[in-house]
């Protein structure tokens, strides 16, 4: 089967599709506000007349390319192209400011490829058993998993835990706007039809990260002109194999997180990116505590490995159960159906060759991804030398365009500008933005799962203890809180001791 599938790939059109998809994906993904969903939606009509294997290879290539493209703008401009690359921006942009933008991009590329290969192998070997895992996640299990994800972001995301908790709560509250997920009542929509679906993620993302950066620069004018003088030098970008090898555990764990969370529908790639960033940060704390947030290579590698590993993971329930994990897999699911490959347990049995050929194409497209990624970033890296007063008007235009193009709606543009102002105020006051984003992404799912679980149990909380998975997550949350508290007390004692020692 695997060999048959491989032979099916030996077609010039598959290669053309992969290369075309990756290049287009990188270019579109690098433009702030135009993420992988947009790139795939733009290209899907192109694939209508193509044979199934090249068509889906093209779409997966676009997806992979766009994810990497998103990290280009995240690293070089601090403007994440996709929500998940917001995690990459933290250390990636810090590296770029130090002139290591090229190095950060290389690490991002290699880690992406690693995550992709890892999840692809998991997909090929474990698709069937892992699909049944998705079945055991009902509303109660989802609720506790989402709580666990929020706890990880708050406890291990870095910075003050109270700040992070406040941001998560604001994000969850923002998620209340729109239709009630159970009763369908409009909430805080002010009779505005466009608000019924709640805040769209892309306008909020672009506003929070890109527009707020523009506002920050606007109000920092004296500093910005001084900054223009000190354009960072482009340091050599070489990344040795040894350096990547040093990060093997981080990349491996991040890929596991990405694949696992990708299997669970509706969570997407942002949460695993931040979870693995937090994990990498807390693991390295003993060795290199302060480097995270200031340009740690592992801070780039971890989220990139994780958000690329999501692809393979998310394809498992998409193909085996017909549940798309996010907007991107939803479009890919549509492409499968258009090609007459109906998803479901029998997909693997009836269309084994096509399915495995597509997996192998995803695996092998890492090669053109590296080649074109390296070629394109050589050009992109010079963006860092453009003075801000030339760069930021362009970012503003792209942000407006990106927000508008999601639904061709002006409401999204206002949401984007509003999010920009909120983001600006919060950043000036020193609050971290990623927890806000995570709160917004997960808030709605959390509310829906919680209320679904309580509906099924007739209002009894017992349902969260009765299921072993849910109970397991609750115990893990408790352990995490205890661990964080103990760690906090220990470091405080230590720092107090060292402080008194200095005196």
């Amino acid at each position: 089967m695997l060999l048959d599938a491989f032979l099916a790939l030996l077609d010039i059109w598959v290669l053309v599709a992969a290369v075309f998809g990756i290049v287009v994906g990188i270019v579109i993904g690098a433009i702030p506000g135009l993420g992988p969903t947009m790139a795939i939606a733009l290209l899907i009509p192109v694939t209508f007349s193509m044979a199934p294997i090249p068509a889906i290879t093209l779409l997966l290539g676009v997806y992979q390319g766009a994810i990497f493209g998103g990290s280009i703008s995240a690293i070089l401009l601090n403007v994440p192209g996709t929500p998940s690359s917001a995690a990459t921006a933290i250390d990636g942009y810090a590296m770029a400011r130090k002139g290591q933008g090229g190095k950060a991009l290389r690490i991002a590329l290699y880690a992406s490829v690693f995550g992709n290969i890892f999840s692809c192998l998991a997909l090929m070997m474990l698709a069937q058993p892992l699909a049944s895992m998705a079945l055991s996640f009902g509303p109660a299990e989802m609720t506790t998993l989402l709580l666990f994800a929020l706890a990880v972001i708050i406890l291990f995301g870095g910075g003050a835990k109270l700040d992070a908790a406040i941001m998560v709560l604001i994000g969850i509250c923002a998620g209340i706007i729109g239709l009630d997920p159970i009763a369908g009542t409009p909430r805080f929509t002010f009779n505005n039809f466009a608000l019924e679906n709640g805040f769209q993620l892309i306008p909020v993302l672009v506003g929070l990260f890109a527009m707020s950066e523009v506002f920050l620069q606007l109000f920092n004018r004296p500093k910005a002109s001084a900054g223009a003088q000190e354009v960072p030098e482009l340091l050599p970008t070489k990344v040795g194999l040894a350096e990547m090898w040093r990060m093997r555990t981080t990349m491996f764990l991040s890929s596991v997180i990405g694949t696992f969370i990708g299997i669970l529908p509706g969570i997407g790639s942002t949460v695993p990116a931040f979870m693995s960033y937090s994990l990498a940060r807390s693991r390295s704390r003993s060795r290199d505590p302060s480097s995270f947030g200031k340009g740690a290579a592992e801070g780039v590698a971890a989220p990139e490995a994780a958000n690329n590993a999501v692809t393979g993971g998310a394809l498992i329930p998409t193909l085996a159960l017909g549940i798309p994990g996010d907007a991107v897999t939803a479009v890919i699911l549509g492409a499968f159906m258009l090609q007459g490959l109906a998803p479901g347990p029998f997909l693997f049995r009836d269309y084994g060759v096509e399915v495995y050929a597509i997996f192998e194409a995803l695996l092998l497209s890492s090669i053109p991804c590296i080649i074109f990624g390296l070629l394109l970033f050589r050009v992109a890296v010079h963006v860092i030398r453009i003075p801000p007063r030339h760069l930021f008007p362009a970012i503003t235009i792209l942000a407006l365009l990106g927000a508008f193009s999601v639904n061709n709606s002006m409401v999204d543009v206002w949401v984007m500008l509003g999010a920009g102002i909120v983001g600006f105020l919060l950043r000036r006051s020193g609050f971290p933005l990623p927890p806000l984003l995570i709160g917004l992404i997960l808030g709605k799912s959390l509310e829906q799962s919680l209320r679904q679980a309580l509906l099924t149990s007739g209002g009894s909380l017992e349902i969260f203890v009765a299921s072993p998975i849910a109970a397991g997550f609750l115990v893990t949350i408790a352990l995490c809180v205890i661990a964080a508290a103990v760690f906090h007390l220990r470091t405080r004692n230590k720092s107090e001791k060292s402080a008194t020692g200095n005196v």
Partner: protein, 322 residues
Amino acid sequence: MKKIARILSITTVTLSCFGGLSGAVAASEYPSKPINMIVGYSAGGGTDVMARTIASHLETYLGEDASVVVRNSPGAGGQIGFTKVAAADPDGYTLGTMNLPAALALTYDREADYDAKSFTWLASFVSDPNTLVVPANSEITSVETLISTARENPGMLTVGLSGLGGNDHFAAIQFAQAANIELNPVPFSGAAMARTSIMGGHVAMGTMAFSQTVGFEEDLRVLAVFADERLAQAPDVPTAKELGFDVEMGSFRGLVAPADLPDDIRETLMSALLKLAEDADFLAAMKKQGSPVQFTPSADYEALAKAQDEAAKHIWEETPWK
């Protein structure tokens, strides 16, 4: 007398020739430019796939140079696309896909610029009846046991729905009324999510459309279909009507044009659609997509739309979903 008869017959022949000629002129005039087929959902979805299949096959029956272009206008649950079709000129160059009951149900829960009278109902292609479905390992093995379980724990038997105001929601309400039981509806975001929760046993039952159960036979048990007769794909599954519950609900996908479409254009389109309905290639392509094909032309389609409209109105008045 003979002369008069000859003159008369000649006149008749000439007239009929003219008549035929004018008909031929109209037919050759339409279509003289590309026909737009508006789809209210994004590219790659079930309705879009159907539209593209119809479009490519319809071209052959509309004449040599005919071209049918699918245009996606997604957003607001299809409302943007439906509104575009309703507002277009009835010149035959704007057609649209129609989803029942969704398109008409949403005219009750929000402001909409169209209703059932805004369209010329051409033909329905897909009829996908709702079902009563439980997990394969469920203790509920028949509609009877389902009803007795529901009566034992009133309001506790959970039904997984794809959302509110959709055909499965309507089916659940209608069945609960017909069987005089109280169910506990749990809405999910999308049919696939609801199905997964049913398969995993997190909710007790579902009322999903039949096509959603295809391919998941090992994990799901279909107890009844809400159609007027048994399905060819599942001849062992009884209809709700056979069991004594007068419930008929499903999701119907078809083709409409704006209201007041001129008769000659309508006839051209209908004759092409009737030929399409017998095209083996087309039927095979539709079947491959997993949609139960059932061709329901003009008048019957309009009656179906009116019935669905009434059902949605009735449910909205009794149990508003928003």
